[in-house]
């Protein structure tokens, strides 16, 4: 099958990135702010310096992790119709922006602090939209106690979507255990959860090459429970990674290999997704720059490295075509976002996000979901075969003839043409002010009328009991 996916690095360049990553991990290693994880790594063959809190890995150890990591994994939904098999066979899957701290109010347009009601509504909207394949809990539950926010975020999201949930567990092993317990309630036990993990977790190193205590201990706990880990490198060029595209790709690659070694050390065969959200810093402000052209190039390169390692890849974003941008800026951002999605990635993320992912917007989610439904077809595999080349049809039609009602045309019209959904297309073609008005109607209608797949009330209550118990035990 032909694929319109970017090949950016050649074999030699990939070899170099790989060997330089190995050199980094072999000589400099990673800083791990957790004695227990360092001990685990030492047991599995890493060289550990407990004073510096570093671990270095041999190439053999890294190859062993690559050997045990599963090549295919599934992100399960509460509703099996939402199960997502990785690698993605046709087009990438899409996921919402996650854990934003601000929300564009869907009615007033005010950009404000968010709360758990906003989270519930946003997740419900994401559940209703066909263009969204799975979710990150899109908003922080800032009205909840700090030490249990993550647990509320998982539980509120769980009630409002039956799609797969990819959250976080930065607060350590206890927090991870509570999440496992809560999700187990929904599927009917821990063993069932291991068979069908309905949630996975993003675990971010601190670039370059550092792993904080809470996240990494949670990662170990989750790997043992069969919860997929997406070890997301944020290698920001000029800030936490070299300013060059090659440097960003290599740092992200090294961090992914290190994250994988840790997951496989915890539980050989544990599901793991190669993940990167790497881009240069904004050279004018020092903030993250999701509009940088280099973002696409880093996505292309990291996707190829993931493919080389036979790991599912989540290295691209989509959206961030902010409704407030002027047309020319919107054009540049749209081109950039479409290019990034053309990396050999299995997942594109960030839908619904605004303000460099610090915020989310209900209407933006609609725009991104609709745009993705139209754009993802560019990435469909294309059959190049005798059947599709169809020289018999050409002979049939003859010199200067036409194919209008030829059998081949009729058979392949709906199979091979990208036929954009007219309703979607007309929506996203509206001017931004008109779009806002129409999108507002759709958002409110969906929030009023759409019902996510319910969870038994007893289970919901038990989940909140787990959170309350955790609050009492771990409150500061």
């Amino acid at each position: 099958m032909a694929r319109s996916r970017m090949t950016f690095l050649d074999e030699k360049e990939m070899d170099l990135i790989h060997t330089q990553s190995i050199t980094l991990l072999n000589e400099m290693g990673v800083l791990v702010h957790s004695k227990s994880v360092l001990q685990l790594l030492e047991e599995k063959g890493a060289h550990v310096d407990y004073e510096k809190m570093t671990a270095t890995f041999s190439e053999k150890m890294i190859n062993s992790a690559l050997g045990t990591a599963p090549k295919e994994i599934t992100l399960f939904g509460r509703d099996p119709k939402h199960d997502l098999h990785l690698p993605a066979k046709d087009v990438p899957y899409s996921v919402t922006n996650g854990l934003a701290v601000f929300v564009m109010d869907k009615d007033t347009g005010q950009y404000r602090d968010c709360d758990s009601k906003d989270l519930a509504d946003f997740m419900k909207l994401a559940d209703a939209l066909n263009g969204i394949d799975y979710v990150w809990p899109s908003l922080a539950a800032k009205d909840k106690p700090p030490q249990t926010q993550t647990l509320y975020e998982l539980w509120i999201t769980m009630q409002n979507t039956s799609k797969h949930i990819q959250g976080d567990a930065i607060h350590g092993a206890h927090n991870a255990k509570a999440q496992i317990e809560m999700a187990s309630l929904v599927v009917g036990g821990k063993e069932k959860l291991k068979e069908r993990p309905i949630f996975s977790v993003i675990s971010c190193p601190i670039a370059p090459l550092s792993f904080e205590k809470g996240s990494i201990e949670a990662q170990v706990e989750l790997a043992r429970a069969g919860i997929p880990i997406a070890s997301m490198s944020m290698s920001l060029g000029g800030l936490s990674a070299p300013i060059t595209v090659a440097g960003m790709i290599t740092n992200a690659n090294a961090e992914n290999l290190a994250g994988l070694v840790i997951t496989q050390a915890a539980s050989p065969g544990a599901p793991h997704i190669y993940t990167s959200d790497s881009t240069p810093m904004d050279m004018a402000t020092g903030n993250i720059n999701y509009g940088a052209p280099e973002l696409s190039l880093v996505s292309f390169g990291t996707a190829q490295m993931a493919e080389r390692y036979n790991l599912p890849a989540f290295v691209s974003g989509f959206g961030l075509y902010n409704l407030d941008y002027e047309e020319n800026e919107a054009f540049c951002k749209t081109v950039n976002t479409m290019l990034t999605a053309a990396a050999k990635t299995d997942i594109v993320g960030g839908l619904g996000g605004i303000d460099s992912a610090n915020g989310v917007c209900f209407k933006q989610l609609l725009l991104d979901a609709y745009t993705w439904e139209c754009c993802r077809d560019y990435l469909k595999p294309v059959e190049i075969s005798e059947r599709t080349i169809a020289i018999d049809a050409i002979r049939d039609v003859g010199h200067g003839g036409n194919f209008l009602i030829h059998k081949h045309t009729m058979e392949n019209l709906r199979k091979s043409m990208i036929l954009w959904n007219k309703e979607r297309l007309s929506m996203i073609s509206l001017g931004k002010n008109d779009f806002r008005v129409e999108a507002g109607k759709i958002v409110n209608r969906l929030l009023n009328e759409y019902q996510p797949l319910p969870i038994d009330e007893n289970i919901i209550r038990q989940g909140y009991d787990i959170i309350k118990t955790y609050e009492k035990k771990y409150a500061e």
Partner: protein, 209 residues
């Protein structure tokens, strides 16, 4: 050698050569205040202007600041007894429970480049540690950073402690989840969305500078 050579060295990021250039100027008998104000500070003002116009970028501004600092080290021992006042002292850190420091480091570097004396407490800093450092160093400003929403309450705690201690130290906050509204809520003296803004804010907050 001339003052212009010092000025150019900062603008050309000649961080290894500037010490020699400054020393030559001192040896030639040039007034130390002139070296400082026209050569070094004047050069950083030019750098700041170009940065504001989008002609220079953050890494270049920091490199210029590093160059200026290298030149300043040569001049500093000779400044005692002159009228030159330091810009002010800033205690900076990432709050308790948070290990993310890249934004904090950038702000610290830019404040230093702007002439402030920096006391960097690192990451995972207890509120009391900010207070103690502010007292020990007679700091005019405490700057706190957080990336995680769950660590932000520590900022409020620190603001209360500093104000209850009766210090005149100002407090500014920043980080991705932080807002002006939050700064107002906890009675911090200021908030900045980015590092260049933090420098401008520091200049406004520290009196007499």
């Amino acid at each position: 050698m001339s003052i212009q050579d010092i000025f150019n060295a900062v603008n050309n990021f000649q961080d290894t050569e500037i010490a020699g250039i400054v020393q030559s100027e001192i040896d030639a008998g040039t007034d130390v205040s002139e070296i400082l104000n026209d050569g070094l500070i004047g050069a950083m003002d030019e750098v700041g202007k170009k940065f504001g116009e989008g002609l220079l970028f953050v890494p270049e501004m920091l490199m210029a600041a590093q160059t200026m600092k290298a030149g300043l080290e040569v001049v500093r021992p000779l400044l005692a007894g002159t009228d030159t006042k330091p810009r002010g002292t800033v205690v900076i850190g990432t709050v308790k429970g948070d290990l993310h420091d890249i934004g904090k480091n950038l702000v610290a570097m830019m404040l230093e480049g702007a002439g402030f004396t920096i006391v960097d407490l690192g990451v995972d800093v207890e509120p009391a540690a900010f207070l103690d450092a502010a007292k020990e160093n007679n700091a005019e400003l405490v700057a706190m950073s957080a990336l995680l929403t769950t660590t932000m309450p520590s900022m409020e705690e620190c603001v209360k402690m500093v104000k209850n201690a009766g210090l005149s130290t100002k407090l500014m906050i920043g980080g991705a989840p932080v807002t002006q509204a939050y700064a107002d809520k906890i009675s911090a003296d200021g908030y900045s969305a980015d590092a260049p803004g933090a420098v401008a804010l520091a200049r406004n907050l520290i009196p007499g500078v």
